[in-house]
């Protein structure tokens, strides 16, 4: 059994991702420099470099997630579906804003977000003190 998720990133999502990388590691020039010094042994820097390189080209990001773990079905509850729907509609969105829009308690939303993130049903990035949900889930496909 395979549970396939496709996700696309809008310009706003890419802006949040870029800001997140800039705050965590630095701008493109700094990331390139670190990569040369550390000979690409830091996994975060290597990944950030490819994201920034792609952003400089202005090219799209295509993402596909294949879940082979059957426990995925226990992670999908109606409330969590609502989180995916709200983040698709209003994203990129902070978890705090998401809780406000879904009219739910922040802690419960936070826990649900990380239950979904565990299976990559949503993508979460840290930008400063806030965590943002980025990317639009294009649909689920179950292949048996």
């Amino acid at each position: 059994m395979e549970f396939v998720v496709k996700r696309v990133y809008t310009e706003d999502d890419v802006k949040v991702l870029k800001r997140s990388i800039r705050k965590r590691i630095g701008r493109f020039e700094k990331v390139s420099k670190i990569l040369k010094i550390r000979k690409c042994t830091d996994p975060d820097v290597g990944e950030a470099y490819l994201y920034l390189l792609n952003m400089q080209d202005g090219e799209e990001i295509r993402e596909e997630i294949i879940i082979e773990d059957k426990k995925i079905f226990s992670a999908l509850t109606p409330k969590r579906f609502e989180i995916i729907e709200v983040s698709n509609k209003f994203g990129p969105i902070s978890i705090r804003e998401l809780a406000r829009r879904a009219n739910r308690n922040y802690k419960n939303v936070y826990d649900d977000v990380f239950s979904l993130y565990r299976f990559f049903l949503i993508n979460v990035v840290r930008s400063g003190k806030e965590k943002f949900i980025i990317g639009k889930t294009k649909g689920f496909n179950i292949q048996v």
């Binding site: 792609n54 990001i61 596909e64 294949i66 082979e68 995925i72």
Partner: protein, 98 residues
């Protein structure tokens, strides 16, 4: 274009591919085997060509860099097969002759 593929092989274990294309040619790639620790995905093994040479980097269970090993170029499907065979033992294996 950036092509990202993530395969969750079991709860808390994932193989990730990030491929950077210029036109139709794949210029850079990073293939990683990651485990979930708390709420963070930690890289245990990583194959890439970022410095122009194919190699494998190995990390400990806290994500600290341990060593770099020679590794001939493999496509993502091969890496998936290797990871599914060895799982967490991969960090202790010598895969250079596989």
């Amino acid at each position: 274009m950036l092509n990202i593929k993530k395969i969750l092989i079991s709860r808390g274990e994932m193989i990730e591919s990030i491929e950077y294309f210029t036109g139709k040619r794949m210029k850079f790639y990073i293939y990683s085997y990651k485990i979930l620790k708390g709420r963070k995905w930690i890289t245990l093994a990583r194959w890439d060509n970022l410095d122009g040479m194919e190699h494998m980097d190995v990390y400990d269970e806290n994500g600290n860099y341990m060593s770099t090993k020679d590794f001939p170029k493999r496509n993502f499907d091969n890496i998936v097969k290797i990871v599914k065979t060895f799982r967490r033992n991969i960090i202790a294996m010598d895969l250079s002759n596989i």
